[in-house]
Symmetry: C2
Subunit: 566 residues, 2 copies
């Protein structure tokens, strides 16, 4: 009759590779049906339970405890297997420690001073400490470890920024530096496309596809999945985009990320615009602000991001001739729309480049103006405003602004008097049912605002040449009154982005040195041995640390040691 035997080894550290190998070795022993060798985390308890490997005593195992469960043909076979555990562990350890390995980062760097990179894949609770040591030694970091506290990530990245160092991660699965894949990485040819990714398999999928389409990769820089959160502020992504902007090998940039915080997205897009290089943006799950804004191209999925990058890398890049910005009174944009969908489309596009932005047709809840009659955001924060003047609250007891221009004219004059307004944005919708001469109705106020108040006016004209208002004549009237005229929301957004975009990420000071990408890749590996094997197989220089948790993993002793250091 089948038996479940188990053992709990409290509070000691084992490399995950060793646990996997131990589990396999135990499962293969005679009389053993199945085996589970895991740390006692909640997820692992659930898994053992679901696998029928959960004797009642196993509940006692805590996250820091090693839990070994054997399902055997009988009690005797199970106990025989458990008795093998020490010998198996011993054997694994000796096969791994066949080469001389330094025991400290210091001695590793003495052995290989040209190692400008340190790879860290130790368990999360030790990772920040190891990473701090590497930064203290002036090394760039590839931090594979997950389960690292957010505060530690922020502190590490701020320290790195002050020193001009890159911190990829924590929870960074993938990077390609100088043709060498770090962590999980596909073998791809070198080329002109540089990538920045807050998503590991995203980078893998795009770099693979680039290769499969015949393109190549200059560098692929991972940031870790939390880098684009507001609390971290995209510190690594911003530094990486800036670095690729200066890298002569990189002609096209790709930025891929899970949905970023809105203000982080806006700043990174501004940074990408200042590089002037064609940049493919794929913010997964984020509604793209259009097909393109100047040098920024927006993809709808991983495959498309790769294809766009390859296509762009084959084009001759003509840098945009950028007309000088109109002299302007204030920094903010005011959109006064008659069409609700046009207002929403403007919010969707402009939110990528203007921050903060408030509106009565919000794409994101925090954009909502509490009262559309107000000029500012919640708690009176200054910002850009887009209003749909055809919304229900404006059309009670009043004609729609597409027929009656009165509300728009009054509001334009009001906005023009505010010192913080630099641009007024209008839509002019032609066609059946609308005002017979909307440009004429707006012209004298546009003229007054542009000439007397020195405010730029941008008009978006929607209509056909068959419309009763005479479209070319309407456009001429708007031009004559001093407005910039667009017939495409994308072109309009691109123009506003060039002249009114929120400032780019504050320049990283000092910037990350290009040398990080130009020396042959050399690294110290701390953690998973398979990563060092992979680097060596790719021809990179690597030295592995024989890393052990401080104080043998004893948390109390660790805390005591940390106190004594300070």
């Amino acid at each position: 009759m089948a038996a479940l035997c188990f053992e709990i080894r409290p509070g000691s550290y084992y490399d995950s590779v060793i646990l996997m190998q131990l589990q396999r070795a135990l499962a293969e022993l005679p009389g053993v049906l199945d085996a589970g060798v895991v740390m006692g985390t909640p997820a692992n308890h659930e898994l053992l339970l679901a696998s029928g490997l959960y004797p009642s005593g196993a509940t006692a195992a805590r996250p820091d405890d090693l839990l070994i469960v054997i399902q055997a043909e009988d009690e005797e076979a199970g106990q025989r297997a458990l008795a093998q555990v020490d010998r198996q562990l011993q054997r694994r350890r000796t096969t791994i420690q066949n080469a001389f390995q330094p025991r400290s980062l210091d001695s590793a760097l003495k052995q290989m001073p040209q190692a400008t990179w340190v790879l860290v894949s130790v368990p999360g609770r030790y990772a920040a400490g190891v990473a701090r040591e590497a930064l203290a030694q002036g090394r760039h970091l590839f931090l594979y470890s997950d389960n690292v506290a957010l505060e530690d990530e922020i502190a590490l990245k701020q320290e790195a920024a002050e020193k001009g160092l890159l911190v990829m991660g924590p929870d960074c699965g993938t990077a390609i530096i100088q043709g060498i894949g770090l962590g999980f990485a596909n073998r791809v040819r070198r080329g002109a496309i540089g990538l920045v990714g807050a998503s590991g398999t995203g980078l893998q999928a795009i770099t693979s596809r680039i290769h499969n389409l015949g393109g190549g990769v200059s560098q692929a820089i991972g940031t870790g999945g939390r880098d684009l959160r507001a609390a971290v502020g995209g510190l690594t992504a911003g530094a990486a985009i800036d670095l690729l902007g200066r890298d002569p090998e990189t002609r096209v940039i790709v930025l891929v990320s899970k949905p970023p915080a809105a203000e982080v997205a806006t700043r990174l897009l501004a940074t990408a615009m200042t590089t002037g290089k064609p940049t493919v943006i794929y913010f997964q799950g984020y509604a793209p602000p259009g097909r393109r804004i100047n040098n920024l191209h927006f993809a709808r999925n991983l495959t498309e991001a790769a294809r766009m990058a390859v296509d762009l890398s084959r084009e001759e890049i003509a840098l945009q001739d950028d007309p000088a910005a109109k002299k302007r009174q204030g920094p903010y944009v005011r959109g006064l729309f008659s069409g609700g969908t046009l207002a929403y489309e403007a919010v969707l596009g402009l939110q990528a480049v203007l921050h903060p932005l408030y509106t009565n047709v919000p794409v994101r809840p925090e954009q909502r103006l509490p009262d559309a009659n107000q000029r500012q955001g919640p708690v009176h924060r200054s910002g850009h405003t887009i209003l749909d003047l055809g919304a229900d609250e404006f059309t009670q007891g009043r004609l729609h602004p597409m027929i009656d221009p009165d509300l728009r004219l009054r509001r334009m004059k009001q906005e023009a008097l505010a010192a913080d307004v630099g641009l007024i944005l209008l839509d002019v919708v032609l066609g059946e049912g609308a005002h017979p001469d909307p440009a004429g109705a707006l012209a004298s106020t546009i003229q007054q605002v542009t000439r007397e108040e020195n405010i730029a006016v941008v008009a978006l004209v929607v209509g056909t040449d068959d419309d009763p208002q005479n479209r070319p004549g309407q456009i001429d009237q708007l031009h004559a009154a001093g407005a910039m005229v667009f017939t495409d929301t994308g072109d309009m957004v691109a123009y506003i982005a060039r002249h009114w975009a929120t400032a780019a990420t504050a320049t990283v000071s000092p910037p990350v040195s290009l040398a990080a990408l130009q020396a042959p890749f050399a690294a110290v590996n701390i953690g998973l041995a398979t990563f060092a094997d992979s680097l060596a197989a790719q021809g990179a220089e690597v030295v592995s640390l024989d890393w052990r948790p401080p104080a043998g993993g004893d948390e109390k002793l660790m805390a005591l040691l940390a106190k004594m250091k300070n």
Copy 2:
């Protein structure tokens, strides 16, 4: 010295066009500097205040009151202007009522029995009543009026659905039926593109652009901005897509809307898939699930939606050869991913066609699995599940699933035992650092699941031919084990959409008759006279009702009359 004079006329109804004309006429009188003529809504109070047209006594005007304010050179000129109000109102009324106009819908329909459409643009609080009358007469509705209660909209649309009638609106600004523009509409050539729009200026922008690109429009059907909310359920949009699917003139469909409720989006996309016609989807502000899913093409802005529609209308349409769905055990999909970004990409794509969907990498908050070890959604709702097994909660004290397949294999076996699972979805990520033979590690379990449990397995392979695992060999192994293999998330989503998509909108019963789109356009107009003028100018048959609010706009009397009717 300038003076502000004003008058409040309590509780009587005026057409908005008349108010606009009165304001202009008063402003042109000698000695008058500015004038405001508005109903006393909060927005209008704000506007008058901002325009310096707000004497202290004006605060007394309520939303149902007419408020007239005159800013004049002196008190005398102001009073003179106020004294003109009655004469001006009288003059406006007589110029408008120059033709014979029926006083009831009944008599209007006797005068023009071929009018299958009724246009309603009376003030919101009267609109539902007028619309109900039109439905009772078996007429399709174009309901321009805004400020209509949501419950009224739902009731009207449900009644219409039972009768096979279309209700465009409330707050529907635009439509083009049989080449005739209703409400606000641009003059565009006729052609093969049929549109459904929950956004007015969105339809205008796209139809204009289609025309400017040389394309043409068969029909453009507005739905009103709230149609795609969960409460309304896309009743009009669903009926309209179904109608265009049957319309022989329509070869390409465009669906444009502000962000729809998730479950409504899923059902409308399913309806669009069943039409088999190429359909361009532009859900503004909604992250597109990819570039394309079968016949559904996703646009990033209004301009692109138009361009895609025109391009598609010029292509020869080859209907997809759809392989028979694999026989399957249950209706639900289980994704077991090792790559977080790949899992997220699957959620992003599949959420467009699978509902409900739960995951530990949610795109929308309601998708979040409270506990990733669970198989079902909040409060144990059955549904599709996508898991990222590389997430932090699974990798504590355990190797990443890209290296150690154990967790995935156990979970696959578990899921295969559930009666409600029909498909298991896996990613297989190749490259440096990953398992040396992931397909080999998965193969025997895939074989067991597909052959013994009769469950379909779909594998997404990411990698290059240079990767150490030998990509073609990995794909061969997966095929041999019985898996469908894809190398592109888009193709994978398209396959799953064909065979596992959530059911389309329940067939409208009875469907809207094609005759609605095929007879020459004829309508009764109730409300804004400018709309009737525009219809007549376009050569459509139209009869205008001389509409007055019931009981002269007296709300108490109206309520009494309504009671007596019932």
